[in-house]
Amino acid sequence: MSAALASDSTSYRPTGALDLATALEPYAGPWSARQAAHLARRAGFGGSPADVAHLTAAGMHAAVDGYVRFADASALPSSPAGLLEDRRRPALMPPGGDLVAFRKQIAQAHRADSIALEQWFLDRMIASPAQLQEKMTLFWHGHFTSAYQKGIPAQALVDQNNLFRANALGNIHDLTLAVSQDPAMLRYLDNAQNVKAHPNENYARELMELFTLGIGNYTETDVRESARSFTGWNLDRDFRFVDRPGQHDDGTKTFLGRTGNFTGRDIVAIIFAQPAASRLFADRLLNFFVYSDPEPELVEAVAAQLRANGFVLAPVMATLLRSNVFYSERAYRALVKSPVQFVVGSCQLFGVAASDATMLGALSRMGQRLFYPPDVKGWDGGAAWLNSQTLIARENFASGLMGKMSDGGWLGNAVHTMDPPQVARAVTDTILQGDVSPAAANRLVAYLGGSGEAALGALSGENADERIRGAAYLTMAMPAYQLA
């Protein structure tokens, strides 16, 4: 970076002190719907009322096991149906064809495939029995970013997404190596153009800056030398990875203090020998799963676990999801739901089994389009998710979702009572595990009983369905529902 940009250091780290000594020890405190729903929001997207009841009954250890040991999700489609784009893009125009019409056709295929991609991933997140696998896939999608741009065929992004899924809790070192040879990534960060005669530094730079080490842990010389090492890792005509020895710079390179005739494989190995790599992943995981701006001591404690486990993530995530710090009051509702979590979690909560195309527009207005991260550093997240426009988009999504609900079946038996306090309690317990103020709870009772602002008349069999949907909408508008 050439010059410092003005910024302030707003931190959303929770108040209060971290108890480092016990932070990663197993939690042994109370276990109720409150803790179970917290786990469901973090390890998954929130789940259904039945999911939360099941986790509550299972107890903490079994509940975490259920997330970390992925359930069989093979019944879900591993690829969107009916992608239009040829893997070899741009496909050749048929001889004598009309160029303008051909380009239009390509643009239409791109749009259609974009919708198919987004809905495919959304549907997996909504319906997969392996919820943590999908949550991790979303995490990796925002980490090792590639966008549906630059002529990358949709199928290559499906393949990349499945790479994340297959390595969701696997070895991060192996995943990084696989990402370095992933066709979508090779195009997105230009390593496809990185050849001996004309090194392209884009991937080499972002690999260190954003994906593994962070600024300050390497020099410009390291960028150049690693770019030389990645020369020849290109794409073939079928948009597949190819290692072209003839395009590889066979000379000696010096990278992070070591000298040799390195390849990309060596570079990734040297990077993972740096302590900074374990700290970067620990920091990202804590920010995504526990709370924002974690203390450096906590980051180092998780980094040490990553190193001790050879960068295999499953045992580290199991420790984290069982830990005192994870269930501490400091971590409770201490994250802002991403738009994807807001939408997926709402679908799960109200029993919506699959996405529809309107959800894609809603997600875009909320500031998160799957397969279109804003740039190579992914979504900023946290406070940046919320501004006037994105918050209104969330509320309008909630309103639209309630409009589609055919009945209050998601509330279970509570829908059969016409007692406003009971119904209000059922609504807020189901949606927010009771995380509402007494004043809001009273207002909800008044609304349901027809004595709220709009003076609607008493709750009855005739209006209960509409009224309960209104109550759910109001509950989803509460600040707590924006928080994970």
């Binding site: 003005a6 931190s11 509320e395 509402v436 809001a440 508008a477």
Partner: protein, 404 residues
């Protein structure tokens, strides 16, 4: 059943305009806006990459016609500015403003090692950070440091569906409002929920948990609701004194004039126009977009002047890149690099700035930039909005002397 919608249309009973105890009314009564306090910067994004060579046409360079056998604009059609360059004839209304000394044209604006991706180059222009990934926009950083009243929701407004990165700030929440009647909560309320009722729920902060984000969510919620309801009421008293073209840009600039004329304390407005991504059959698309721009801008300044606001408002255009010097086989042009931009307004010292890039010294078929865009930003920040520019544009850049 009775539906108590609380969209704008249902607000007839709510009186905001004319209410003496309203915040804005109070602020205006107490502190008349000084000359440097009521300045407005309007940024117009020419999305998609506008072909600079057919906007400010280098008709005096023979190479231009060699590279543009079908797209070249004939010397006699060009609206001449000097012996080398002239405007695309679609910009006739802008040429009139230029002749009146109110249009500065900065030629050959770009940055080192240009990126030809729409996405990345747009981000570079919006964040003013060509070599790193910044999480705030350059005008967002201006807003963070300008000391504007935090209770004013309308310190800056994006007239767009989605908040553009240029206005992403750390501490200021900028509303994005594509059009007045489309901003706000969906009109079909659930179960007859009342307006105040909804607000009360959405502000529920006395919750049985702590969260470092709770105050932030409640604040944004407050902004979202007040913004959606107050802006239409606030600007309703303004009557346009010009006929705007019935185009999206015309509507945006009409709303911009309303906001400026209502004196809400707004300092920055963002407007978008496009798409200029003319890979095929460029002429029809670009001419239409340039004509729309010139007509809407002329109406905007006519309207502003009629209300005595034309010297308060500077408009600056940008596009993520210009286009390839040589036209392609589809009578279009591919992504390129440097291009000219316009800075317009009653306070602007009109004329040509920078130099027309050479067409005989290209890099991979693209012109080399002569003026770094950050020198233009520095002028807008230092000499118009009157703030130190280095921390905002990311380094020390000599301002282009655009202001008298």
């Amino acid at each position: 059943m009775k539906r108590n919608g609380f969209l704008i249309g249902a607000l007839s009973g709510l009186s905001v305009v004319g209410s003496a105890d309203h915040f804005f009314a109070r602020a205006l009564a107490q502190t008349p806006l000084g000359a440097s306090d009521d300045r407005v910067l309007v940024i117009v994004n020419f999305q998609g990459g506008n072909d600079g060579l057919n906007t400010v046409v280098p008709y005096g360079l023979p190479t231009y016609y060699k590279y543009r056998p079908t797209l070249g604009i004939a010397p006699n059609d060009v609206l001449r500015l000097d012996a080398t360059v002239g405007l695309n004839p679609a910009l006739a209304p802008l040429k009139k403003m230029y002749d009146a000394g109110r249009v500065a044209i900065v030629q050959g604006v770009g940055y080192p090692n240009p990126d030809l991706s729409h996405f990345r180059s747009t981000e570079i222009w919006q964040t003013s950070a060509p070599t790193t990934y910044a999480s705030t926009g350059w005008l967002g950083r201006y807003l963070d440091g300008a000391g504007l009243p935090p209770e004013n929701l309308f310190n800056a407004v994006a007239l767009a569906d989605v908040l553009p990165e240029v206005l992403v700030a750390r501490t200021v929440d900028v509303p994005a409002i594509a059009q007045l009647n489309g901003y706000g909560l969906a009109s079909d309320r659930r179960g007859g929920v009342g307006r105040d009722e909804f607000h009360a729920f959405a502000q529920d902060a006395a919750v049985p948990f702590r969260s470092p984000y709770l105050a932030h969510v409640a604040e944004i919620e407050d902004h979202a609701q007040r913004g959606a309801e107050e802006l239409p009421q606030l600007v309703a008293g303004y009557t346009a004194q010009a006929t705007y073209p019935a185009t999206p840009l015309g509507r945006s600039l009409a709303l911009a004039a309303q906001i400026v004329g209502t004196k809400l304390g707004t300092r920055v407005l963002y407007v978008q126009h496009g798409s200029f991504d003319t890979h095929t059959t460029q002429k029809a698309t670009q001419d239409r977009l340039l004509a729309e721009f010139a007509e809407a801008t002329a109406a905007f300044y006519t309207d502003l002047a009629a209300h005595g606001n034309d010297r308060r408002v500077v408009m600056a255009t940008f596009s993520e890149f210009g286009r390839r010097v040589a036209e392609n086989a589809s009578r279009g042009t591919d992504h390129g690099t440097a291009s000219p931009l316009f800075v317009i307004g009653g306070a602007v010292k009109g004329g040509l700035y920078g130099t027309q890039p050479s067409l005989d010294d290209l890099e991979a078929g693209n012109v080399k930039f002569g003026t770094d865009f950050r020198s233009v930003y520095a002028a807008l920040i230092e000499n118009w909005l009157e703030r130190p520019s280095a921390p905002i544009v990311g380094g020390t850049y000599t301002p282009v002397p655009l202001f008298a």
